[in-house]
Symmetry: D2
Subunit: 347 residues, 4 copies
């Protein structure tokens, strides 16, 4: 079978690292281009010695024309705004794009511009982009020119709540998402608050009532609801490298029972290869680390009439690069799980 | 000034360790008795080499009469039920008791018995016990025979919420406490789920909608409210040794503003030596580690009409042994901060 | 191609976990038997929810006859002595055995018995066993009935030193191995010193001048030397889950230069799929985590005439279960890297 | 008693943090000046919220004259070279100086200049400086104008070896120091290799055969020996915040026994308040964390004729700020343990 030729722009960051790792074991993809503007010419293995299959390979400088010619798909790991600008160039050249920034995640560009405090550099293309959550938008992803790959917090928030909102099983105006993430979500930028001694043996909330992923989650849940949804989203920083766990508090609708919730999840996710809904357990981060799974468990607390959902995933895999490859697989009509079949690493 | 003679029963556990450490630097206390039933005769420093001031000292066997004669106050670090049984012996012999178990924390013994699934072994004494939260019960603590020292999760939950409930600043029937604790809260028992490899690089919720501290928190907030309060309490296990951080979601009453909340906290805690309410910040665990402080910050999110409170403390100090010594200081009429003036350790 | 039928005895421990994980992605192996005496009947996924491919599978009780019939090879993850006793049963029934305990690692059974303070329960079989270091004993492994799979510390010690001793590039009577291991090497036994709070934020040496792996290392290096080698081996406990790094101090022979050492390593390991000798760098544990690689770097310090070698590997993979599968591949004449091609996880 | 007025230059780093913390509990010191050039005007508690006793205090700009007038002693936490330049200004103004950089640690300025690749900016003063190891240079420290406060690795290396070299109990030409340090030793500079995700779950050696502390250790041991000593020093980075543990390999002289070594340590350190030599144990980092102790244990391995010493200390306390305060106490003739009596924190 013909291989998919793939290029990664911004390959030197942590999502780039994971893309390189996943694509190296992908049976039907070939990494043709590895752009790092700041590290062009440097050996991949000098930065990431773990990537033994890339021995001898150097990061490429950015050459848009060459990259467009050489690749069927471009993964962009650039920061927002810069990403859309470059992605537009690839789209114009007929190359399909999977963008890991926020630039193509919003249906309402105004909300994007308010949230990120920038003017969108590629509005028209943005309007044709598809939100890269396979479990919800698989059909549109198949033919999309541009996929806006969801954020880590958003995937971990939307997937457990979307079906319940859509099916009116829970109230749409009483949603609290208390999310906890490992530090790799903050990327590789050298800043004092990211130092080991600052993060280790501590824990904190940040961007409370002000995190940018809130509007992305709200837009998707509003689509499910058919009307505007607002919610509380509180991110926290865990002293671990990978993983997100979200504790979600919802108000169940009258007469909704445990089985109803299981039925709804079965209806939406029964056939999904990367969604596990727990029967009688609540997932932990070491159930998903290094894998493309999202796992969802819940407790229906009749005493106080709350539905408490625990969802977790690996922020770098299902929350970023794994999901991006899942999208690629869908876009190119191959087995959706190709390259993504590794089990989680419990230890 | 005459020293307070203090005995510790169950000194070999982590709360015992911290009591030994605090009392060693206490200017007006002397540790006369260090009972460990399972380790009687063993050297304190063989178990805890850090306790250099205890060099040569061995753990005592339990001799209730001798301990009663030798001490003005007994700290009990025994498990619940066993603790009340022994504490009763000391009370009968006229020794004041600070119990770190749950046995003397409940005003309603039925709730205790349902929660802990035991028959209370010292009901009469329990009815005279005072709940050891100095910020709320200081006056009663002064003359108490028995103080039921609050749990770590409970202190971190009750102190930030109590004044707001009492002053009708928030709704009493929409309270969510999402709590995250380090592993030392689980004590020193050797069990597989507590192993380093099981806890490290992971994170999980546990006892969801079923944790025993829920009823203790509810009882105190019900007292504040004047009527029954029910709430959601969700504990999580952090891969750190010490510290608790709680994210608390409340519904503010109409017209309640940021300043109102600050005013209420000032009224209740303005003079408190160990409560810090943040002006414009949210506390993190490394702001309180190794200290007796509880720190409280909040965000009033008008957009979704939620008050989000972040509270944190060291589970072994303000959440256990530090608070116990604070109670001792109050009971014996000395400076409440004696032995407890160490600053937090940021690193 | 016909699949290799494999059974794991003692599957519930950490090396069992890793074997299950590796074999699940092995293209030519099928896990037929999963014995856990203490957890027979329990669901694999209740203990290790990460093992999603084992959904529905339960741990088997021990039935030696059935296991012998159903499998071409048995991996034994039992404790020493118990392991040899059971392995002998399989050998008698004509099943090939890879034993992860120490029971079949020693050529000199007396040394084994002195080291482990037991009488060897299967001396005759032990005399036919092959030491499972493929880089040294590949030819004998091919036809072995029983392979004694080396320990984690030993693999990390022997591979970097063996060629240098054999080629007389370093002195054989001045060898210091300062080794540091993650906690998973101690297994899953619930003991207080293994608790998170005891290990976290600390570091210690243990079994100094008394660790059992010393005699295993010495025996192999003595074979290389042609005469008795004695050495200092000092293990330390790292507050991490996986990985070993050894710092090895040797006295270079006269006139030995950097290139000579590279030449020797090339001669011995140039074609090895899982040995990487660094050109100009020293490896770290995140260069090998989750992979079957051992990586070796060195500095020749002319100033003090020392050769300092840094070697590292994942104690559960190349130090245990990965090496065991590598041995299986050799024994059954298939591609030696089958199931073992995953790159290391840098994060 | 009159208080000692103390100023800290470079107070915003981690050693400054610890100095502020120790001096806050010092009964006879008052912190008059807190210079941070980069953070002048910023609130101390905005950077280090744990320093509750500094509430309201801001970092001062550098005003050498004012600082000289206001203080009896200056602690300099500046980088090498910049430190000596400024310290010289204080010395000229008659203020006593404790310098935490390397600038005043060397007796042989040439070695300093080669090691640090700079020209020393204050050579004459450097020649009068005293090396701030109280256990060796207490008498000279009493009257010193300038104390060169030793580094963390050096204190942990010199104290255990110095007496043995001096007493000819071990060979002076076969010394290996394998040292492991927490990350706080690298300070607060924002650099990618210091990020949590890069350090966590890994371990590595660095600056092998090239670390700058080597020449400092060698100079002191050469003084003990009376002749030039060269040694191997290998530092490693532990994924913990605080603490150093060194494993030291020495060749014992003929007929030296365990008791001889104990006798030598007793002779040198029997009366030392901050040196603990273990009778029958090897110290771990959680035996010293947050305290000013160095703890030393050893094994005499007759089998291979090696003496293996384990020493450990808190790199920020006995390895930096605690030792600096100990020096201050000696210089001003007060109780040497003032401010330094806290026990280690086991958890």
């Amino acid at each position: 079978m013909k291989k998919i030729n793939a290029g990664i722009i911004g390959a030197n960051g942590y999502t780039g690292l994971e893309l390189m790792n996943i694509l190296a074991r992908h049976p039907l993809a070939r990494v043709n281009t590895l752009v790092s503007v700041s590290n062009a010419g440097a050996h991949v293995c000098d930065m990431y010695p773990s990537l033994t299959t890339y021995r001898g390979r150097v990061f490429d400088a950015l050459d848009t024309d060459a990259a467009a010619k050489a690749n069927d798909v471009i993964f962009s790991c650039l920061p927002h705004s810069a990403s859309a600008e470059l992605c537009a160039e690839f789209v114009k050249r007929g190359v399909r794009v999977i963008d890991l920034s926020a630039d193509f995640r919003y249906r309402d560009i105004d909300v994007y511009e308010k949230t990120y405090k920038v003017s969108h550099p590629a509005k028209e293309i943005a309007q044709t982009a598809v939100y890269g959550l396979p479990e919800i938008y698989r059909e549109s992803i198949k033919t999309a020119s541009v996929v806006g790959n969801p954020g880590c917090y958003t995937t971990c928030s939307i997937l457990p709540v979307y079906p319940l909102i859509k099916e009116r099983a829970v109230s749409a105006d009483d949603i609290i998402i208390d999310a906890k993430s490992g530090t790799s979500g903050a990327g590789k930028k050298a800043e004092t608050p990211g130092l080991f001694a600052e993060v280790n043996e501590s824990f904190k909330a940040y961007a409370v009532a002000a995190h940018r992923h809130t509007s992305e989650i709200e837009e998707q849940l509003s689509i499910a609801h058919g009307d505007k949804v607002s919610l509380s989203f509180t991110p926290h920083l865990l002293p671990i490298t990978r993983g997100i766990l979200s504790t979600i508090y919802l108000k169940p609708s009258a007469n909704i029972g445990r089985d109803d919730i299981h039925d709804i999840y079965s209806k939406y996710y029964g056939g999904e290869p990367f969604v596990v809904v727990e029967k009688n357990a609540l997932p932990a981060i070491n159930w998903v680390k290094h894998s493309n799974y999202i796992r969802i468990g819940f407790v229906l607390d009749k005493r106080v009439n709350r539905l408490i959902i625990i969802s977790c995933l690996d922020n770098l895999i299902k929350g970023a690069s794994g999901q991006a490859v899942q999208n690629m697989n869908i876009m190119f009509g191959i087995d959706e799980t190709a390259g993504l079949t590794v089990q989680a690493e419990y230890l």
